[in-house]
């Protein structure tokens, strides 16, 4: 089986990447190819990286409180660029109250601190199943489905 290509990105002015690195490492150990962007990327840079790397999954990490702007902006730019099949998940410090809005913007899962690493591997399995069953999971089509 060919590995998934997954971009793990740090959008905006946020210097905390311990979580992003743990996620990247866990995905690597599960046999995937993880492209880590490094810190302080603009949404435009992240779209460019997803496109050039032919990635199919994008993880966004934010601990700065700006997720409410950055995550939807990235989703919007992905759709504008025609990258509708990309599956977006998020992580970091994302209060419960903010999550419904992010889900409706196109984010399919949000993982906070303390999430066991198996959890996002289960999520990726579910993504795979939905893709095979031709159920919407990319950022371009919304049917309201999100993880947990």
């Amino acid at each position: 089986m060919d590995p998934l290509r997954i971009v793990v990105a740090k959008p905006g002015l946020d210097g905390h990447d311990r979580g992003a690195k743990v996620v990247a490492r866990a995905l690597r150990d599960a046999g995937h190819e993880v492209i880590y962007t490094g810190l302080r990327r603009t949404p435009e840079e992240i779209i460019r990286i997803v496109e050039d790397e032919d990635a199919s999954i994008l993880g966004l990490s934010s601990l700065s409180g700006a997720h409410g702007f950055l995550f939807p902006r990235v989703c919007e730019l992905l759709r504008e660029s025609g990258l509708n099949d990309i599956v977006v998940f998020g992580g970091g410090i994302i209060p419960q109250a903010d999550r419904p809005e992010l889900f409706s913007a196109g984010v399919r899962a949000i993982f906070g601190p303390g999430t066991p690493t198996e959890e996002f591997l289960h999520f990726l399995n579910e993504v795979k199943k939905r893709r095979i069953a031709n159920e919407p999971v990319g950022v371009g089509v919304s049917d309201g489905w999100h993880w947990r």
Partner: protein, 290 residues
């Protein structure tokens, strides 16, 4: 989009088509590989050296420099795959802060996957795909290498060897290997103490051999010092007939290895071997039987 359409779209400058084409090539799709073989080759530079000397940072600098003078630049950044899980953490982009948003630069992270060594299978075809997509120059950054990993020499037109200060005493520069095959040598991190001394050691190591006129420069990719001079040296690389036979030997042997490990019988033989059902001799026989 059909695979042939991908090549045509990539040739017209579509980044997405190029990205998908590279994916197919790396997966070993023969139709895609064949479709790029006709590419006229574009000047390609391999950037190699030990881990941690600043290859990614310098690659970033060079890509930006070439782009600023109007060239379209294709960059392949190689990182190792885990031999256990097959996964890979591709982190070169972390250091590539200048090139990330330049429309003239295309960057692709490439994992070594199931290759025999530090050069991914089908790298040559990936370089051809960049050529066919209208790049004027191609940079290939290798994994961090030791003294004998000279595979990149067979893949690119020229090789830039990056070293750092404080990499050992003069005897390191006397040892045979990669250093003899480099077209240009730089000591990066030139802002740190010891870099001029390191360059002097390398120069004296090269002085008595056939590579005595290979330029050895001190640069700082971080502070963008010496990049002009480095590009000047890269522009003036002369072909070295004595290296040609080495290049061809590696090109041929890596092509043979590519072919062998791509066979289905290879994977079967590996499994049988691991489970103790056959000997190494029997495994070899089976692989070549197919």
């Amino acid at each position: 989009m059909s695979k042939l359409d991908l090549v045509n779209e990539a040739a017209k400058g579509s980044r997405r088509a190029l990205a998908r084409l590279l994916t197919h090539i790396q997966q070993g799709d023969q139709e895609s590989i064949d479709s790029v073989l006709s590419a006229t080759s574009v000047q390609s530079i391999g950037i190699t050296g030990p881990p941690g000397v600043g290859k990614s940072c310098l690659t970033d600098c060079l890509a930006k420099f070439f782009a600023d003078r109007g060239e379209r630049v294709g960059v392949l950044c190689i990182d190792p795959s885990s031999p256990i899980s097959g996964g890979s953490l591709l982190g070169d982009r972390m250091r590539m802060e200048q090139s990330g948003v330049d429309d003239r630069i295309y960057i692709r992270s490439v994992a070594t996957r199931n290759s025999h060594g530090s050069i991914p299978l089908r790298l040559k075809a990936m370089i051809s795909a960049l050529s066919i997509s209208g790049m004027d120059r191609i940079l290939v950054e290798t994994v961090g290498v030791g003294q004998t990993e000279i595979g990149i020499v067979s893949m690119t037109d020229s090789v830039l060897l990056v070293d750092g200060p404080d990499r050992g005493d003069i005897i390191q520069a006397e040892k045979a290997g990669l250093l003899e095959l480099a077209d240009v040598v730089v000591v990066n991190k030139g802002d740190l103490p010891g870099s001029e001394q390191a360059a002097a050691n390398i120069r004296s190591g090269l002085a008595l051999g056939p590579a005595s006129n290979v330029p050895v420069l001190v640069v700082s990719a971080l502070n963008r010092i010496g990049i002009n001079e480095l590009v000047g040296a890269l522009d003036e690389i002369q072909p070295r007939p004595s290296v040609e036979i080495v290049k061809c030997r590696h090109r041929l042997s890596s092509a043979i290895i590519d072919e062998v490990v791509s066979k289905k019988s290879f994977d079967v033989a590996v499994t049988d071997l691991a489970e103790g059902r056959i000997s190494i001799e029997q495994a070899i026989e089976r692989v070549f039987q197919e």
